[in-house]
């Protein structure tokens, strides 16, 4: 059924010079050690993946079952998978080594027949940060959509970027959303609209819900209400939830059976992981409820930084503060990072942009030290440079 239709598609005509974030993260194994004061506590604000296991967690691990998960013989893993599936209103779940794995497995299980493509936000992790997984694992093209409001894609934008079957095209098969994205909560109403649209066109709905926990705690929308809009969801356990390793994919029975087979193909068929599953369940039950406090701390941080003249790239909804230091004339690598390192604070970023991520193991003291460091860096910079005219305010509604 190849029908030629002219569809208004919003191509990227933005004048922004860099559409896609490139951290140029280095794969080099000779990783340079950080120049921090040894002995003092280090606060790593680069990501919530750094949540570390506690001694208590190893005790929980000891008490878990020790069966073989390749043969689905482990009680603790089954408990975790049933628990999360129920929470999300789905039939089944699959515990995997990483969010990349659960995302790519979820997408791969939907994408069975090339030519085909995925439509998603241009900033999506599945598109930018999974080593080209969609192309590699699913041989699928990607239609990256730059959202006009800078927060989330809309149903209109998704519809405008759907690709129909045509002799030349890779038709859209999956709509992949991310919530939270850059810490931003996608409103349930918009998700519902997109879900209706997708289902009316016979498209699958996948969610990169690595941080759905944060969205849920912030919005009050129950997990199963999100779950009802998607055919599959990938939920991370090793980020803000605090487990040392793992992520979980939810879907219906047939879907998860196929995903399990693919998991073995990916080399994710691991053995005695009951301890990891037990710890993950514990963290969901104990750490997720602390997220509102983390979100409050992030808001506090954002307020303090803006009062110093630093700007925000996007609003603060949950545990991330994305800053823009143009207005205070700081280069993140040259002016900010060294000052913070001397205070045992680690942040990432380049030029005038940085993403600061909080989690339950970050306390008020760490945040205050970070604020102090930024204050110092600004003062140092102003002392060294003559006063500059205020930076041009650009209305860039697109990516960072």
């Amino acid at each position: 059924m190849l029908v030629r239709r002219s569809i208004a598609r919003s191509f990227s005509t933005s004048s922004a010079t860099r559409l896609y974030i490139q951290n140029n993260l280095n794969n080099d194994q000779t990783h340079p050690s950080l120049q921090t004061n040894p002995g003092a506590k280090v606060y790593d604000f680069r990501s919530d993946t750094v949540t570390a296991p506690t001694d208590e967690m190893f005790e929980i691990m000891k008490a878990a079952s020790r069966g073989d998960d390749v043969f689905q013989e482990d009680r603790s893993v089954k408990e975790l998978e049933e628990y999360v599936a129920n929470l999300c209103g789905h039939e089944a779940a699959l515990f995997c080594a990483s969010g990349t794995m659960t995302n790519q497995l979820g997408l791969r299980t939907h994408l069975s027949n090339p030519p085909h493509s995925v439509v998603c936000d241009a900033r999506s992790h599945v598109f930018l940060w999974e080593a080209g997984g969609i192309a590699f694992h699913s041989r699928a093209s990607v239609s990256p959509v730059i959202c006009r409001n800078g927060i989330h894609v809309t149903a209109e934008e998704i519809e405008g970027n759907l690709i129909e079957a045509d002799i030349h095209t890779a038709p859209t098969r999956v709509v992949s959303l991310e919530n939270t994205l850059s810490g931003l909560v996608m409103p349930i109403d918009e998700i519902r609209k997109i879900s209706e649209l997708a289902r009316s066109r016979g498209l699958a709905m996948h969610l990169d819900g690595a941080r759905l926990w944060n969205a849920h705690m912030q919005s009050g929308v129950p997990m199963h209400e999100y779950g009802a809009q998607f055919d599959s969801m990938s939920l991370c356990l090793s980020k803000g939830v605090g487990a040392p390793v793992g992520s979980i994919l939810v879907g219906n029975h047939g879907f998860i059976d196929r995903a399990r087979h693919l998991r073995k193909l990916f080399g994710g068929g691991w053995r005695q992981v009951g301890p990891l599953a037990a710890v993950a369940k514990h963290c969901i039950e104990h750490v997720v409820p602390t997220m509102p406090e983390t979100h409050k701390l992030a808001k506090y941080l954002a307020d303090q930084l803006t009062s110093l003249g630093v700007q925000l790239q996007v609003p603060v909804h949950t545990n991330m503060v994305l800053i823009d230091t143009t207005s205070v004339g700081l280069d993140v690598q040259k002016d900010l990072i060294p000052t913070l390192l001397s205070k045992n604070i680690v942040i990432g970023g380049q030029r005038n942009k940085s993403r600061i991520v909080l989690h339950h193991q970050v306390d008020r003291k760490g945040v205050d030290t970070l604020i102090e460091g930024v204050r110092e860096a600004i003062a140092t910079h102003q002392a060294n440079e003559p006063s500059e005219p205020p930076a041009q305010q650009q209305a860039i509604a697109s990516a960072y």
């Binding site: 020790r66 990483s98 090793s238 693919l262 073995k264 193909l265 080399g267 994710g268 068929g269 053995r271």
Partner: protein
């Protein structure tokens, strides 16, 4: 080693279906607390880095990578050698990388496979390899990698033959990969060091979660450049795990405590093999290390007849309904007492239900070196693709 108690408060079942059944012990969880807690995606975890350096050194290679499974370390290692299709891998037709990795070679590397049945006996020879190299650059998928497996079905490939195959590869400009999931067992049985084996290969996969005893994980070792690529591939395959330090630490602990006990495990396997043979049960393959492939047909019984009685003693073996062939795998958590029980049960089953067998006049079909016996299909020993 004291038996492991399953802390779901059930009676412990001794699982002899595979050495992947090795379970973590209570001491291991205590040890985990002392491990580093850095993020391994950023290569910022000391214990993960230490394990990798330790294994690279042990295998005579420049670098190594800690992966979630043997399938992953094999497929990643092979992928780093397979850069431009059309290309193919030459391996034993029974190889795990070909039969039990979900078609990974085709999927991850778009590679064809030339599966070779060893012409005379247990392992591929240099002649087997040379006779099957594909050089057709017009219509063929040229051979790029020769992949060996040691041990394969518990049997050992002699280092001399590996050297001969290395020479063939060098002559034809081919890479040589080793699926050394159970290389530990080969090394323990022959006295050849891990690095002496390791140095002969361009990439080596060594499993930590089988006989070596760790709950999770496997290692791929190769050159620095290939391991850098492997780390990137690992992320692509979803193996980029975070705070894996505690897994690395106990893997290291297991290498130091479980691996040295392998000679005892091998002795137990031989003891069991000899006893079963004395009852008339036939060995399909020689017992070189920790595995037995048995054929109960001469006794007139099926494997299930034994399995049912063994189960009553909490001993689990692979039993495909109606089949007389099974694979029995030992590891360090299977105690001598368990083997004594196994032998007693087998004796009484044969005595009560089996037909009398004259074992003194029975020819052993098993040749120790490359005699002219044919290798039998062992599919019945792998009912659900257990590895």
């Amino acid at each position: 080693m004291s038996p492991v108690i399953d802390n779901a408060a059930r009676e412990h079942v001794y699982d002899l279906t595979s050495d992947t059944a090795t379970q973590p012990t209570d001491e291991m969880f205590d040890l985990m607390k002392t491990a580093s807690r850095g993020d391994d995606v950023f290569t910022a975890d000391d214990d993960s880095n230490d394990l990798e350096a330790f294994m690279a050194n042990m295998l005579g290679q420049e670098a190594a990578l800690f992966c979630t499974s043997g399938t992953q370390s094999n497929q990643i290692g092979l992928r780093t050698l397979l850069n431009q299709p059309p290309h193919s891998v030459l391996c034993d037709a029974r190889a795990h990388i070909f039969v039990h990795e979900c078609g990974g070679l085709s999927y991850h590397s778009q590679a064809s496979v030339t599966p070779v049945m060893p012409k005379k006996g247990l392992y591929l020879t240099a002649e087997d390899v040379e006779a099957n190299i594909n050089k057709d650059t017009l219509t063929g998928a040229v051979t790029r990698v020769v992949a060996l497996e040691n041990t394969l079905n518990g049997t050992i490939m002699p280092i001399e033959e590996i050297r001969r195959i290395r020479a063939v590869c060098d002559k034809h400009g081919l890479y040589l990969h080793l699926d050394g999931a159970r290389l530990w067992n080969a090394s323990a049985a022959t006295g050849v060091s891990m690095s002496e084996y390791g140095k002969l290969f361009d990439s080596i996969s060594v499993c930590l979660s089988k006989g070596a005893g760790a709950p999770i994980g496997s290692i791929i070792a190769s050159t620095k450049d290939r391991i850098r690529h492997a780390r990137h591939l690992r992320k692509l395959m979803g193996g980029g795990w975070r705070q894996a330090g505690f897994l690395a630490k106990i893997a290291r602990h297991c290498i130091e405590t479980a691996v040295p006990t392998m000679p005892e495990t091998h002795k137990l396997a031989t003891r069991l093999a000899n006893h079963l043979q004395s009852l008339g049960i036939r060995l399909v393959l020689p017992c070189h290390t920790n595995m037995l492939f048995i054929d109960t047909a001469p006794t007139g019984l099926t494997v299930e007849d034994f399995a049912v009685e063994l189960k009553k003693k909490n001993i689990k073996i692979t039993a495909t309904p109606g089949s007389t062939i099974s694979r029995v795998v030992l590891h360090y958590q299977v105690t001598p007492e368990v083997i004594e029980q196994f032998m007693d049960v087998a004796t009484s089953v044969v005595k009560l239900h089996g037909k009398p067998v004259n074992t003194t006049s029975m020819e052993t079909d098993v040749k120790e070196d490359n005699g002219n016996s044919t290798i039998e299909p062992l599919t019945a020993a792998y009912p659900s693709g257990k590895n």
